[in-house]
């Protein structure tokens, strides 16, 4: 039986059960509007769907019943017991037809005219003609008696008010008894039960595998055959249970051809619907949730995306427009594309719309990439039908679509080329799906790599095979005609491993458009795994998409190629985000000014220039010594000097000794260096490899490895009570800052800046994570939060924090791109202590110190 029909039958059977009791309720309370509309809705749905499926007989009965109900609903007729009885009879007839449909796949035929005529008569306000002739007076009285007994089956047993009913309904013997039959082809099972089954099956599989292993070593023939059978059955059972959760996406698409056909009729457009990848399986739950958004998007594409045939001709395109659906797996996700070859989104008009609605300023828009402007169609306020249809015709309800997709952890992107078409790309994670994974080993540990992302495997290092090469430190592989960037898994995961990276395997992986290789030590075989989410305390490790239990019973982490790409900067979102941000040109220091100098060894050193108050040349004779520590009188005070070179002593001082002065209020400290080299603008991407005390790590400037000094460490060296009183409270512990910022780019920017300023920084990408940290009892001295974030924005976060809990009194700094007075006011009302513009590092640091000083004072 066709899936659609099966769905319809299940739905109708359920509807009929509800209908019976609703009708009886209605009979008891004829004025109950809610029940009346419920009844009407059920019958209407049945009728509507029948027409859709071409079930004429059913439709005519349902239609006649609907007519009567319609008159009741409009108040044109009073609900009467005879009418209700007629409708109940119609319900029974519908049920009989449904039963027949289910058993024979066809409508039973037979003459429904007496029933329909009776219904029509009732609709016109006449009494039912031949079949039913109850005395109206009696009938009116009946509800009171009949009411307490209710329920449909009673009707058949009830001889009095309507003997016509059994007559009208074709005497199909199994009229009542067969109703449940329709329901039995499918039953609803709670997901929990399936989950439980799944778990039991996994255990069974593990036990089976152990048995098989035992049998292999025991060589006991008697067990071999039954064990083999057990093994097969277990495998089948496992597949069966897994199948209960998985459905091809085609199920969600089944109604679309019809929808597109109707659409093309109604709109006078020629539309062709192409569907690819309908067999792509995904979790049933996820499928249900994306059904509506998908339908909506296809309708949008046909309605607003495609032009009329005339317009298309004029544009030199074929008259028939195409709407394309494409589904496929990609790196642990399912990608669904909804594309059309229509006119595309009119960027210019979206832009003016955004301006008109005050969603962004002209300056902001000017700096935005087209892609970002298109994203405005997902904004809630933007998608009011009248406003947008008049302008671009696109975007109706797109915010709802986006919300629904994000609810299941997915993302939606839009690409558009004016005149060529629009493509929406939906990416849904496969959290519950079964994936085939490649088991690899690196640094003595095994990991699973989802097979979906794996393009190929290359063995490196052996004789005649391809060789790993290095450009500076970056390993690369020449693979056919391309240069493949490589990521060493053991280095990425900080596994202690002997450096034997020159031989091994490269797992060539694709993430989006980026292809890169992951260096591993060994490759085992592939295994089907069930992805289980990692424990909440491990969620921050983005390199893993989950974990699973292998056939041998061991737990194994599943690598997330997206996370690896992001972490290693190979591609993924950070890169594009960076590009986008760079294009924004918001004027902020995406690059940080660094002061380069030399001290001690030959390696150049660097410090963010913003931290240095002054550069001074101090005459040697002014350097004094107290308690073995060098000092200098500086602006009427004693300033401690800290040499970066441990070997340095006053005697080694130059004639004019260069000193970097760090100051805070009226305290100051001098760092003694050998030579000031330069000031450069550089991205502050610090590689913590080989860190020693006093240094944050290294960074490559002008092709030279340069060490970035940890200012806070040296400030402590000076023995100063440095951190605005905070230090006295927490001894020498740095103050703890929580940064809540959804954009990885800004996190990358803010975190090193704050770290460099001596704070212990924890960064989270989501307000939810911040709240989770709070609930987990994490302690911070201050919180810096972005305002605009998905789901919970900064203002909501501030309100949530102020409401109570451990962090209710923490200072809270808003970090935002928008700082008009009204924004600042909104921030203060929500509970922010201070408001700082993004990129304004000095202001942020000043604000941090000020806020922290305030809490200490308070």
């Amino acid at each position: 039986m066709d899936d659609l029909l099966a769905d319809f039958l299940t739905e109708t059977t359920e509807g009929l059960v509800a209908l019976d009791s609703a009708l009886v309720r209605l009979e008891r309370n004829p004025d109950d509007k809610a029940t009346l509309s419920e009844v009407f809705r059920i019958v209407h749905t049945v009728k509507g769907t029948c027409g859709f499926l071409g079930l004429g007989q059913l439709e005519s009965v349902a239609h006649a019943a609907e007519n009567v109900l319609g008159r009741y609903r409009d108040g044109a007729l009073k609900v009467s017991a005879s009418g209700v009885t007629l409708i109940l009879a119609a319900t029974d007839r519908i049920r009989a037809i449904v039963t027949s449909l289910e058993q024979k796949g066809a409508e039973p035929g037979g003459d429904d005219m007496p029933l329909i005529n009776a219904l029509n008569a009732a609709a016109e306000g006449r009494d039912a003609p031949a079949p039913a002739k109850p005395a109206p007076a009696v009938v009116q009285a009946v509800p009171k008696e009949a009411a307490p007994q209710e329920a449909a089956p009673v009707l058949a047993a009830e001889p009095e008010p309507e003997p016509a009913a059994p007559e009208l309904a074709t005497p199909e013997p199994a009229m009542d008894g067969s109703a449940p039959a329709a329901a039995q082809t499918t039953i609803r099972v709670s997901v929990d039960v399936l989950e439980g089954l799944m778990m039991l099956v996994s255990e069974l599989v593990l036990t089976r595998n152990q048995l098989l292993q035992l049998a292999r070593s025991e060589d006991n023939q008697a067990f071999a055959v039954p064990l083999q059978r057990l093994s097969h059955i277990t495998t089948d059972l496992q597949e069966g249970v897994m199948k209960t959760r998985m459905q091809p996406i085609g199920n969600a698409w089944a109604k679309l051809p019809r929808l597109v056909r109707d659409l093309s009729h109604d709109l006078g457009k020629k539309i062709e619907l192409q569907m690819k990848g309908a067999e792509t399986e995904l979790d049933r739950q996820v499928l249900e949730l994306i059904k509506d958004p998908l339908t909506h998007m296809v309708r949008n594409s046909g309605d607003h995306g495609l032009e009329t045939p005339a317009e298309r001709r004029a544009a030199g395109k074929p008259e028939t427009g195409r709407v394309m659906l494409n589904a496929y797996h990609e790196g642990g996700h399912i990608i669904i594309e909804v594309a059309d070859d229509g006119k595309g989104l009119p960027v210019g008009r979206i832009r003016s719309k955004v301006l008109a609605q005050g969603m962004a300023t002209e300056a902001e828009l000017a700096g935005m990439a087209e892609r970002d402007i298109l994203r405005f169609i997902f904004r809630p306020g933007f998608s009011t039908a009248s406003a947008v249809t008049a302008v671009s015709g696109r975007g109706v309800g797109m915010d709802v679509v986006k919300t629904n997709i994000e609810k299941i952890g997915g993302t939606i992107e839009v690409r558009s080329a004016e005149g060529k078409g629009t493509t929406f790309v939906i990416k849904i994670p496969l959290t519950l799906a079964i994936v085939s994974a490649l088991i690899v080993e690196s640094g003595g540990e095994r990991f699973a790599v989802p097979q979906i992302g794996v393009v190929e495997l290359v063995r490196c290092g052996g004789e005649g095979g391809p060789q790993l090469e290095r450009i500076k430190d970056a390993p690369v592989l020449r693979l056919r005609d391309r240069l493949l960037p490589l990521v060493s898994l053991s280095r990425l995961l900080q596994l202690d491993t002997e450096a034997r990276e020159d031989t091994g395997f490269v797992v060539v992986t694709q993430v989006g458009a980026h292809v890169f290789g992951i260096i591993v030590d060994r490759v085992f075989d592939t295994e089907e795994i069930v992805v289980k989410p990692v424990a909440p305390i491990l969620r921050h490790v983005t390199m893993f998409s989950g974990n699973t239990i292998l056939g041998d019973g061991s737990v194994i982490m599943i690598l997330d190629p997206n996370g690896i790409a992001r972490a290693s900067g190979v591609g993924g979102e950070t890169a594009s985000e960076n590009e986008a941000e760079a294009r924004h040109g918001l004027g902020g220091p995406e690059k940080t000014s660094l002061l380069l100098f030399r001290a001690g060894d030959g390696t150049p050193k660097a410090v963010p220039l913003g931290l240095v108050s002054r550069l001074e040349d101090v005459e040697r004779e002014r350097i004094e010594s107290a308690g073995g520590k060098p000092l200098v009188q500086y602006r009427g005070r004693l300033m401690p000097l800290v040499p970066l070179d441990p070997m340095w002593c006053v005697d080694m001082a130059k004639e004019r000794q260069p000193v970097l002065v760090f100051s805070d209020g009226d305290r100051a400290m001098g760092v003694v260096v050998d030579e000031i080299l330069d000031v450069v603008e550089e991205y502050l991407t610090i590689d913590p490899a080989g860190t020693r005390p006093g240094f944050l790590g290294s960074i490559v400037i002008n092709q030279r490895v340069t060490e970035v000094i940890d200012t806070s460490w040296w400030l402590r060296e000076a023995g100063e009570d440095w951190f605005g009183g905070g230090a006295s409270k927490a001894n020498t512990l740095p103050q703890r800052v929580l940064v809540v910022e959804d954009s990885a780019f800004f996190r990358n920017l803010v975190v090193p800046a704050l770290t460099a300023a001596g704070y212990a920084v924890t960064a989270v990408g989501h307000a939810k994570e911040a709240l989770r940290l709070r609930d987990a009892g994490a302690k911070f001295d201050i919180i810096v939060s972005d305002i605009e974030m998905p789901e919970i924005d900064g203002l909501a976060l501030a309100r949530a924090l102020r409401e109570g809990g451990a962090w209710a009194d923490l200072p809270l700094i808003a970090l935002t791109g928008r700082s008009t007075p009204s924004d600042v006011e909104a921030g203060r009302i929500a509970g922010f202590t201070d408001y700082v513009g993004k990129f304004d590092r000095e202001a942020l640091l000043a604000s941090l110190q000020q806020c922290l000083a305030m809490t200490v004072a308070g």
Binding site: G196, M199, L200, S202, E203, L206, E445, R446, L493, Q494, L495, K532, V534, A535, P536, I537, L538, H540, V541, M543, F544, N547, T548, I549, G553, S554, V555, I556, M557, A776, G777, A778
Partner: protein, 164 residues
Amino acid sequence: MQHATPEAAARATRAAAPPPPVDEAAETYLTLTVADQLCGVPVLSVRDVLGYHAITRIPLAPPEVAGSLNLRGRIVTAIDLRRRLGLPPRPADAKAMSVVVDRDGELYSLLADAVGDVLPLPLAQRSANPPTLDPLWREVSTGVHRLGERLVILLDVERILAIG
């Protein structure tokens, strides 16, 4: 089977132990040893006690996380109590035992050197944490119980699991 686990575990632990306390003013604790220190975990928070299990390391995880292990088809995150309490690492040849606890539906295993008895600990013999106690310990302990010659540090499972 999975569903029966909490009850089964509770039964198992109870069966192996003296009967539950009659005394109102006592709470029942499972004692365990971590680097010679006797610790107590409220028995009602314990789901299971396991012998040595193979543990898979989790790279990049917080240092207190020893790895994950497979408990009858469920993945359990193992927390090394020695590391959590800032104690020296377990000798390589010593096999840790797991005390499995549930937190918001997630299972965690607390790795201890040995698991002792289930004991009713009368409130009368409980003291607050001494102020000189290591701050790390103060953080995770709800008090100290005097058990004859020895002192039992009472662990707060929630706070033990508040890592990172």
